[in-house]
Symmetry: none
Subunit: 214 residues, 4 copies
């Protein structure tokens, strides 16, 4: 059901039963990705490898051992971030009518983005920068955007099928708009959190009004 959001899992740490070394390696790798996520979100993709290495408590040697290049590290971090985000969205949109599930997605996404957690800042930066100065990220970002829109589209169609969403509306259009707005709201997250939150709720209300069957 609605598998468009599913993302292939890491497949990295699975055979780790072999030796201690490997297990340790995988652990370090994870710690690097975590630290990198934070730094990349904070400083942007120009965050220094050395700094990240220091955060983890290893040296650049380890970084290059695990990722080979900075580009690859950044890529890996982004992919991981996307994976985790998808997981959370899948959970909250599991039950209910189409409209309910759509609203849940909106609220959850907006609140996640609005949480200001470095994790979501990172995701936003990915999208903002992929188009221009990091062309090698563009394919990744594009895929994510498409997947998200498709997922929302499916939710809307589901709602139209079960009657919770009016039928005379273009599902794809709604999906595009919802997706754009949620991200646009984040860009403005310079305001205090309450304003941020109320904006999200207002958005939800408008969507409800738009989708409610006559």
């Amino acid at each position: 059901m609605l598998p468009s959001m599913v993302v292939p899992t890491s497949r990295y740490a699975e055979d780790m039963a072999s030796t201690r070394r490997v297990a340790q390696g995988a652990a370090t790798r994870t710690r690097i990705i975590d630290a990198a996520t934070e730094r990349l979100a904070e400083v942007g993709p120009d965050a220094s490898l050395t700094v990240i290495a220091n955060d983890v408590g290893v040296t650049k040697g380890a970084m290059y051992h695990h990722f080979g290049s900075k580009e690859r590290l950044v890529e890996e971090v982004y992919k991981e971030a996307i994976r985790r985000h998808a997981d959370r969205i899948l959970v909250v949109t599991e039950h209910g009518s189409g409209r309910e599930r759509l609203m849940a997605l909106i609220m959850e996404t907006a609140s996640l983005y609005g949480s200001g957690s470095p994790f979501y800042r990172l995701l936003l930066r990915l999208h903002a920068e992929a188009g221009a100065s990091r062309p090698h990220l563009a394919p990744i970002a594009r895929r994510v955007q498409r997947r998200q829109v498709r997922f929302v589209t499916e939710l809307v169609e589901l709602g139209q099928a079960d009657g919770s969403i009016r039928a005379d509306i273009d599902a794809g259009a709604v999906a595009h708009v919802v997706n754009a707005t949620v991200q646009g709201l984040l860009i403005q997250d310079l305001e205090p959190l309450e304003i941020q939150k109320s904006a999200t709720e207002q958005f939800g209300a408008l969507v409800e009004r738009l989708l409610a069957p006559a």
Copy 2:
């Protein structure tokens, strides 16, 4: 009327232009800002000062003379970009009913942002980074966002006053959402331009449906 969009003009090169020397200085300054706008849009806010200086045909000494630091240059570029954007918006929203003017704003903004022109990429990136890695831009970005929301709000209220927009809707909420969506649409401009354009039109249609008086 609707003065909220008006931005104080540059006021830099105009008065003192009595002497030839400082006139040329102002000219150089402008040329630097132009070149910087282009490079910043192309490479991102980490574009090198040396490159920009070369573009203009001056040395870094001149850059330092005019702006004192890179931060300040970026700031100035940001402000100038905002000014120019505001000018264009003001022009297209001059005539018509409230709703017409609002739709004109949406279409124009989206098409500008979506034009892929470096100028607007820059604007968006600055907005996106103001929140994270360029805190010194945050106050400026905040002001701009507020001004834009206020402007849209005024347009909606105008439309409610002249009957072109249904009265039972929260003007501020609409303004927030419109503003966010327009910017969010840009972030996704990884798709070919036609898709981008159709998304904008779909957004317009949804807004029309939302606002049309019963």
Copy 3:
């Protein structure tokens, strides 16, 4: 009497009765020298011209108008500092027996140096740096050292003539040592002022014991 300490006066501002312009110029020049004294003492001879100019409230243009080059400014500042120092020493060593005048010189010099005033820090730096990295200052520094030693020598001889200083001692040797010690004490001025002061007094006591006629 004891004219070795006398230094040719500035001779700059004398014809200033001609026009306002000239008077103003001289005033600016003085203000620059004062500000430069402070900065040079604080930062050392690498203090930036721009900073000094800002201190005064003029631009580098004025600096170059008055001094032609940085080297020349530094030179002028040093000469002026020496002049002022000589003036003060002359005053306190005017009256008394040879030994009294010598002791007065020691105490005054040490207390001046120890005062930590930028003015005297500057003098010390002159001596410390002239020998190595600022060869163009060496002649000035050398002249000053010689003049000071000669002055002290004369004082000692005077004391030997009037019987206040024992005769079987090398006046030149004492002069050298006194001069060296006073400056050496300053180098150590990292200690709190009281220690500094007590060291000076101890030095005075030793000198007294050394010079007192049997």
Copy 4:
């Protein structure tokens, strides 16, 4: 005995020298310090890192790897210079009566300082600048000065104990003065070497006269 002059040894390159790689690192580090000592003495504490790197035959990258900043390099050079100086002083003051050892210290120090060797010029400049423009060196300089004074004091007391120095004199006072004078003599080393030397001898003579037991 008289352990006040003892300075903790470098302790850097000795233990870990098991591996070849880090052994070479330590060697490079030493070579950098040596070259830096020379350049710093020649040009002054503003000597350029690039020049020093070239002297050694490494790049600035290596410098940064080993010292992290210029300040730290200067610090390390300072400490090393002090260590070497202390070593030499310890050697010449090993044997003899207290007075002999004290005189040996005076003569050796003065001749070292007066040798005009870049090494000692550096030491003096660092002392002189610690107070003003290099505050981060102040604590080190303070410690050294204190240690030297204490060492001299102990020598004087030793002499008083063995009868080679008259008892009715303040050991600490003598130490302070001796220390100051020796350094002060260096500041004046602009004169030809013979004068310098004679001044030192005259100083020695005065001290002898001062200390000789009745």
